[in-house]
Amino acid sequence: MKKVLRFIGVFLFVVPLLYISVKAYGGDNQSPPTITKQEEIKISPELHKKFPMKSMHAKLSLSCVFCHEGQGNNPEEWEYVEEDACLSCHKTKKYLAERLAFMDTLKANPHNSIHDGTNLSCDECHNEHKPSINMCSECHQKEIKENIWMRKVP
């Protein structure tokens, strides 16, 4: 949440500044001096299509660099993000486990499971640019398929 606030803050600050800069420089083709990183980086429609954002993240109007922070200016070279990026909004794994404790039927809370506790990386199940998977179903296919434990992974 902190990061969202920071983001909104930056947005509120940068947009008027941008406006002023563009005005001052007077041209559409000229780069303004102050700009957020996102605007510097060209994301082609093809790339946007290839790496679609999850609807809940899109709703928040998150930019690409919101997660791919500090990964350079060439999106082609960006890498998968570490879980710190996820946790900058989603707080801690312990917090998630507690908040989602209602899923804990038969010790099956995926965020604090009997097998892994809170050790799992988010991307064991959650993907941003492709469908998420349920890692538990590698062994617990039946429990997952019949929705005994949990529903579709967001």
């Binding site: 890498e79 998968y80 038969l106 010790k107 009997i114 097998h115 892994d116 506790g117 050790n119 799992l120 990386s121 991307d123 064991e124 998977i133 890692m135 179903s137 590698e138 062994c139 617990h140 296919q141 039946k142 429990e143 019949e146 005994i148």
Partner: protein, 511 residues
């Protein structure tokens, strides 16, 4: 689902050891230290993050070594966090309190019987002698165990500790936390070991790895196809310990060893259980042992993937306190507590080409003896079913009720008499539980790929032995499922965890 309609698992019997002729010297097969710019320096580097790795890591770190553990998967702990958490300890405190008379000789005799006498006895001896030390190590980390000892198939006496949460994670998670808290212990997950770095003498002095490695579960052969990750070199001043597990999920390699294991055959293992680390050890000259001996777990269920929910139910309830019947004959066809190889062979014979899966049956008396969650979970998953009468059970699985009742009555008679003349099940050790008390429980059974018996040869100090010199390869140690020979042709249940823990500890002590 498992493709077990293979013509004849029976014929499989003893699969010849898959000796691989890889005669290269250590120096030829690895990255030479000359010209390597290290990204970090450690005393000890461990490949893997399961029982063996953690036991080695904790032991080595507590001796003052700076230890790095690398795990290629995102998940830490590999198969060790998803197994049944069964740990056989010889002459344990629980055996003393339960009045069980055990000995190293007894344990070795049981293991040799299951292992068809090709076991490397000197390593079994180490496991028997050091089991209590391994138990102390995991208890120090915070592992808790179920009050009562379990008596598993093929063991002549009860000697098995069961993790208090019914999973290996009950042992491994406390070990991970313990290791992470040590100031000189580091775990890097998503870090794939590729090659050894060796010095001029051929000594293993470091590793080449790829960090930010993302294992591709959809790839047919991740380690042959995946070029991702960032190259790093780490120095291992005292040496490298291989603890990366077995290769049940390496479809290419397992089929080479045994052409009857088709790609679609299911396994209880995690997807990262592949052979590439062992290959590097072979390249460095390690002796291959019993590579073609690949073990099936006889207690799995064809109605779910992997170990699932039914396996624990069969291990703890149906096989111990109940029976397994051939749906065609309505008769028992094996000693339900025989070793895994014997049981898997008997089951595949029943299953044949027509997926004639055996039906494993027990009663409420059996379920009363086990951890309630095990039954609850498998019932909810629908892989174990509950019936008020034997007639209803027979109807569900298309058995002949009268014939089944007759078979159950015969079995109950054997339990009462304390002797099973038909199949030789040790019914004198099943606490008198007969199949009499409703409701009755049943599940379909199938063996699944579970453990690769073979691997690289280590001596009693966990040093990897070279084919070329017949001596330890300097700087190279190994422990756990990547090693072979110890358990021979087939291991007994609950004997892998003590192997991993003991030899991990031994490697950590000796490095």
């Amino acid at each position: 689902m498992a493709d077990i309609t293979r013509r004849s698992f029976v014929k499989m019997g003893a699969v010849g050891a898959g000796m691989i002729a890889l005669g290269s010297t250590a120096a030829n097969a690895a990255v030479s230290e000359k010209g390597v710019k290290y990204d970090g320096e450690y005393d000890v580097i461990i490949i893997g993050s399961g029982y063996a790795a953690l036991s080695a890591g904790i032991t080595a770190a507590e001796k003052g070594n700076k230890v790095l553990m690398v795990e290629k998967m995102g998940r830490i702990g590999g198969n060790s966090v998803i197994n049944g958490g069964l740990l056989a300890v010889v002459n344990s405190p629980k055996q003393k309190s339960e009045g069980v008379n055990d000995s190293a000789e007894r344990y070795i005799a049981d293991s040799m019987k299951a292992g068809k006498s090709i076991n490397h006895i000197e390593n079994l001896q180490v496991i028997a002698e050091r089991g209590n030390d391994a138990l102390k190590l995991v208890q120090k980390c915070g592992a808790k165990f179920y009050d009562k000892l379990s008596h598993l198939g093929g063991h002549s006496v009860p000697r098995t500790y069961l993790s208090a949460n019914g999973s290996g994670s009950g042992i491994v998670l406390p070990m991970i936390s313990y290791f992470k808290k040590l100031p000189n212990g580091t775990i890097k997950n998503k870090t794939k070991f590729d090659e050894f770095v060796t010095d001029d003498s051929g000594r293993v002095v470091g590793v080449s790895v790829r960090e930010k490695y993302k294992f591709d579960k959809k790839a047919k052969d991740d380690h042959r196809e995946n070029t991702g990750g960032k190259r790093k070199y780490y120095k291992a001043k005292k040496g490298v310990i291989l603890a990366s597990g077995g290769f049940c999920r390496d479809t290419f390699f397992r089929k080479i060893q045994d052409p009857r294991i088709s790609d679609s055959i299911d396994s209880t293992n995690q997807p990262g259980a592949t052979a590439e680390v062992m290959m590097q050890a072979f390249k460095a000259g390690a002796v291959p042992v019993h590579i073609g001996r690949i073990q099936f777990g006889p207690w799995a269920c064809p109605d779910e993937k992997g170990f699932g929910a039914a396996s624990n139910f069969n291990i703890n309830a149906t096989f111990r306190y109940g029976i397994s019947v051939d749906p065609k004959t309505n008769k028992r066809y094996m000693n339900e507590l025989a070793d895994r190889l014997t049981r898997a062979t008997a089951m595949f014979k029943v299953i044949g080409d027509e997926k004639n899966f055996p039906i494993n049956i027990c009663d409420q008396g059996a379920v009363d003896k086990i951890i309630p969650e095990i039954a609850e979970k498998s019932l909810k998953a629908g892989v174990v079913k509950k019936f008020d009468t034997i007639d209803a059970l027979a109807a569900e699985y298309k058995l002949d009720a009268a014939a089944l009742k007759k078979e159950i009555a015969a079995y109950n008679g054997y339990v009462k008499a304390g002797k099973d003349p038909e199949q030789g099940k040790p019914v004198d050790k099943t606490e008198g539980v007969q199949i009499v008390k409703a409701p009755f429980y049943a599940t379909r059974g199938v063996p699944k790929l579970h453990h690769t018996m073979g691997g690289i040869k280590i001596n009693t100090k966990a040093q990897v032995i070279s084919s070329e010199t017949e001596l330890p390869i300097p700087g190279l140690y190994a422990a756990g499922e990547i090693t072979g020979g110890t358990h021979g042709a087939s291991r007994l249940g609950s004997c892998s965890i003590p192997d991993c823990l003991v030899f991990g500890m031994v490697a950590g002590e000796n490095i």
